[in-house]
């Protein structure tokens, strides 16, 4: 179970390490002639790397961080822009399934909590968009790609939230899976991404706990409330497991991402870790996880899970999930309805700064 303490340690570790990394330039200069003399002609491409590429490789090798102005391979940049912007879009689209319950929350306290949580998701989206921008992507381009349906976001947010118990399941299962995925990303090799993740992880732990509490309270309620909680867990369990992405042998980008130390663990590894944490938590709640094949493997000391329906995952990802169209339409409407506000604010700011300039010129 990732705790706040663990997250903070990671934070201090990376902060402390960054300024102190040893300069490797001198070492490279010494090694270069030696390397060229020992390498055969057919592998000359391998030595034929620039000083800057060497420096990039050394930084990755030393587990240091790459910062915005550093040289980086085009593939690294593209891969990060794709991952970070998809992540940002997921946070923004992820506001919708929960916003659905703000007006219908069972109490004022629950309403206030839900609003704070949805506001956090907006904040997370903004941290991540900023991180992607340091790589040269523009906010407007990313938003346009999302509303044009050209960008991807996590498939989980295309499922509906018909009952209040879904607020519990989203917090416990969806945010729980997200934390599991995101804690290792705090150590991602790209500095701005890691820093955004540290901030996000600290806030996510509140999300997960409040979700757990909603389910716990329902499970301590009437028969009808217990059924509602169980039904919700049944619907969210499998999609939450799919959040970790396709199995390792079907995840083309994973190996490169791990070599670049953007990702630290494989999809299956993280999924396994998540299920191992989930089983005892489900026992505390008194809910059943909807997998008849789930059993403890004495040999590996892990929980073996049943077959995941990857056809469903790919269908939802391809835009054919229960709520894909509605989620995108809402996002598009919100963006288009806000167009005049953004333009008016920009025009007002231009006018004000022109006025200030005029006054200053007059005064001098």
């Amino acid at each position: 179970m990732p705790t706040c303490a663990e997250i903070s340690d990671v934070h201090y570790l990376s902060v402390g390490r960054t300024p102190g990394f040893p300069t490797t330039t001198a070492v490279n200069a010494d090694q270069e002639p030696m390397m060229t003399s020992t390498i055969t002609p057919d592998t000359s491409a391998a030595v034929d790397i620039s000083d800057e590429e060497q420096q990039f490789n050394d930084l990755i090798e030393a587990d240091s961080r790459i910062e915005p102005r550093d040289w980086m391979p085009e593939g690294y940049r593209k891969s990060l822009v794709r991952q970070i912007s998809q992540h940002a879009h997921s946070e923004i689209i992820g506001m919708q399934p929960e916003a659905n319950w703000i007006t219908r929350a069972p109490s004022l306290k629950r309403k206030a909590i839900l609003m704070a949580k949805v506001q956090d998701e907006a904040g997370h989206g903004l941290y991540l968009y900023s991180a992607a921008q340091t790589l040269g992507a523009t906010r407007d381009d990313m938003t346009n790609a999302l509303i044009a349906g050209k960008a991807r976001y996590s498939s989980i947010f295309n499922y509906p939230t018909p009952t209040w118990a879904d607020m519990g399941s989203i917090g416990w299962l969806v945010d729980g899976a997200a934390i599991c995925n995101q804690v290792p990303l705090c150590r991602a090799s790209y500095g701005p991404y890691g820093r955004a993740m540290v901030r996000i992880c600290k806030e996510e732990s509140f999300h997960q706990r409040q979700g757990f509490e909603i389910l716990l309270e329902l499970m301590a309620g009437t028969e009808e409330q217990r059924e509602m909680a169980q039904d919700s867990v049944n619907r969210w369990y499998w999609p939450a497991l799919q959040m970790f992405g396709p199995p390792d042998d079907d995840s083309p980008n994973s190996a490169q991402s791990m070599a670049w130390k953007i990702k630290r663990h494989s999809n299956d590894e993280l999924r396994q870790r998540f299920v191992n944490m989930l089983v005892p938590q489900a026992a505390v709640l008194g809910v059943t996880l909807p997998d008849p094949d789930l059993h403890f493997n004495e040999e590996t000391q892990q929980w073996d899970l049943g077959e995941i329906d990857w056809t469903e995952f790919h269908e939802v990802l391809a835009g054919r999930g229960p709520n894909n169209a509605q989620r995108l339409q809402r996002r598009r409407d919100a963006h288009e309805d806000g167009q005049w506000v953004r333009e008016a604010a920009a025009a007002y700011a231009r006018k004000q700064s022109a006025l200030t300039t005029t006054l200053e010129t007059a005064a001098s």
């Binding site: 300069t23 330039t25 915005p68 102005r69 550093d70 704070a116 506001q119 956090d120 904040g123 903004l126 941290y127 900023s130 921008q133 340091t134 790589l135 040269g136 523009t138 906010r139 407007d140 381009d141 820093r195 955004a196 901030r199 806030e203 953004r342 333009e343 604010a345 920009a346 007002y348 700011a349 004000q352 700064s353």
Partner: protein
């Protein structure tokens, strides 16, 4: 050279945000945001970066106003302190064992 992430192609300019977490501490860079002007930049910064009492004071600076060191000269530019370890107290070892030094 301005800060990374700034682009004239955006509807609203980019601002860098600095937060003082407590009295007695300096403002520390926490991230960036878009806003049409400085008034809204400060308000957005409050909403985005201090939702859990992370700050008692906020600075916003237009990203275009920040000048950074030349990235191409990265090594050389910071080389001057190298080999000047006499700038550190630990260089002076002969006083070892002498109290209050």
């Amino acid at each position: 050279m301005t800060t990374p992430g700034d682009s004239a192609a955006e509807t609203w300019p980019l601002w860098e945000v600095f937060v003082r977490s407590n009295r007695g501490l300096s403002h520390v860079h926490v991230g960036s945001l878009h806003a049409p002007d400085e008034t809204l930049a400060v308000r957005n910064a409050r909403d985005l970066y201090t939702r859990r009492s992370e700050g008692v004071s906020v600075w916003v600076v237009p990203a275009v106003a920040i000048t950074t060191s030349d990235p191409d000269a990265k090594g050389a530019f910071f080389e001057s302190p190298a080999g000047k370890n006499y700038r550190h107290a630990s260089y002076y070892s002969k006083s070892e064992g002498v109290k209050h030094l």
